[in-house]
Symmetry: D3
Subunit: 145 residues, 6 copies
């Protein structure tokens, strides 16, 4: 692969691993800006809002530039496709959800003109209304910013 | 989380990490059966066939039991939703793809009656016809078997 | 229900039942025009063509009126959504398929101005490349004509 | 077809036919466990909950085993794809809906190792906010359990 | 193109252009019945209701004939696919939306038996919760009526 | 609307109008870079390739910068959602298609930091295998570049 920094892989690991498990990747993580957050609601709107808020609070995207919000928004949507696996339409259901997300911003390519890209990853569980009755789910979205 | 073995997380790591990076998870991986493979075609049919063949060859599913092929097939489809992010319909396009996949079979739950489950993960790149013009993508599907 | 003739139910039965089993519904079937056919290919294009050809050959739609072809086409697409269950995008796969279809044209409603409607039903099996490794599937599409 | 018991066909008939019309299939129905119910809401969540509740109350799935709830849940989702025909996303709309559903659990295949499978069928009407302005719709989902 | 009246093009222009810009097309617009309206809500249900209400109030479809409501409903849904671009499932989100719609009814084809058709177009902006952070969107649905 | 240049509207008009009809918008078109092309194939891959080739040949995107190809690719996909209206999965069918497309690149917003955006519009007909049996279709995709 011709990428110098795999922002998608780093996003996946940041969303999936415990701090201890993430330790071996700390050097790689210094090449990017990133943050981590949680979304406990099954409501698609609230999940999107949680990621956007985290991104702005942690300075991963500019507060008032639509261009950056737009890039992030489509990365979130792509990531949610993996989480929901074709069932975005039945999203807001009476189900438990426990998702961790990460946002990674960096320059994956050697060529300077490729510029900055953003990756959004989700990892967690999704399941029946009764807690504990659930299985794992994950998603990754990548976009130019 | 109430799961004793996170087969989804293990599948993600097996598909994403290099052998060295996977090393710290080797103990956890001993709790499950798993295999790894590659799919270099953009053709959805060929990707599915590659995973099914690897699963049978490595003894992850029974050769002649439809029940197990069915469980795997739907896990693959769910995983591909994450890879294609809502674009399964434009799948067989003139694009490069370099995907690694993993299949993990195990017993994620404490309760014996929850039985065996299967996870399929993809990680790699997807992009323009010219190699190098691509970004990362990933998917995870989980099913009872 | 306010419908005098349930063309959807008749289409489902005509696609699903054996001639003997269909016998009790023969009186109801006299209220409509209908035909039955088979589609053995997994190729979405060929399935659509098979239904359109059967409809024209059996005089269920007019040969050269786009309006009627258009009504039938969207009824077929809706019915295929049920058959493929969100996987239209992975349609042309290396899987066995054995589908029976029926087309029913009639006047379901009491009010004369509701005019003619058309129903397309599929019933059969869909499965792994090896014959016998498959499960049942069905679809129903209804449109004004 | 190599299936000894067509649980999908039985589910379709149980959801579609009146008790009198179902009579000729009573012998076949003795080979399976099944129940019937109604869903009058257009709200996807409420439809899913109605089917899950009926399944548990009638002993078609185990109360506390996630594995069985998971199998049923995906069978319901597949069946709803047929009902909504690609419009799951516009599900909770101001429309009337009158659906009957059935759940069938049995052993469709000769081979013992294929085990138990579950089928969920919907049949009814879907339409404009004004009652009577509606047409028929149907869906079938089949899963291993 | 063999169409004498391009109802889709007229619908697009009526939804997109200012009265002044629409002026050169006034002669063409005399060949059809049409109306224009606005939808400021992001709620898919409310958008559909706004279009249906406008269509009935302006005499573009018959008040009590389901056939015509059905034709319009599917034209709206097709048009919304263009507006939402595969994201119908995340429709009711905390986003701003400013849409103009038009409904055009006419006889696009020379042949008398092709009868009347209906076109629904949307044009406007869709975007982040903060007004002004948005981009353009459009959709067109065409159906026989 | 807070946009100084509506690149989406210009793309729609460039794809839809004849040279004469486009005349009144020539001043607005001078604010952007744009080009027009044709796609006569029903094959989604060939449509995408036709737009990408036109964009590169006319200098609308840089030849070797993936970032720009990526921005254009997602704008094309969004536009195709409008053209196919949820049927991307049945894309490569035996149907006639006659599409005109336009690509517009410009700076829609007053604020300098919003930078350049790209719009892709399609307008034409889609229909049965027999030419003339078809109706209009359209799509619009907008992305930051
Ligand atoms: Mg991309
Ligand atoms: Mg599941
Ligand atoms: Mg309908
Ligand atoms: Mg299946
Ligand atoms: Mg059409
Ligand atoms: Mg956008």
């Amino acid at each position: 692969m011709s990428q110098k920094t795999q922002i998608g892989k780093l996003a996946l690991l940041a969303a999936t691993l415990s701090p201890d498990e993430l330790e071996p990747f700390s050097e790689k993580l210094e090449e990017v800006k990133y943050c981590i957050g949680k979304a406990g609601s099954m409501d698609t709107q609230k999940i999107i809002a949680a990621v956007e808020t985290a991104a702005k609070r942690n300075g991963l995207i500019a507060q008032d530039v639509y261009r950056e919000t737009h890039a992030l928004y489509h990365a979130i949507l792509e990531s949610l496709e993996g989480v929901m696996r074709g069932q975005l339409g039945v999203g807001n259901m009476m189900r438990t959800v426990g998702l961790r997300f990460s946002i990674v911003r960096g320059t994956p390519y050697d060529q300077k003109e490729e510029g900055e890209w953003i990756a959004v990853a989700f990892y967690g569980t999704i399941g029946a209304p009764v807690k504990g009755l659930e299985h794992e789910t994950c998603g990754l979205g990548v976009n130019h910013i």
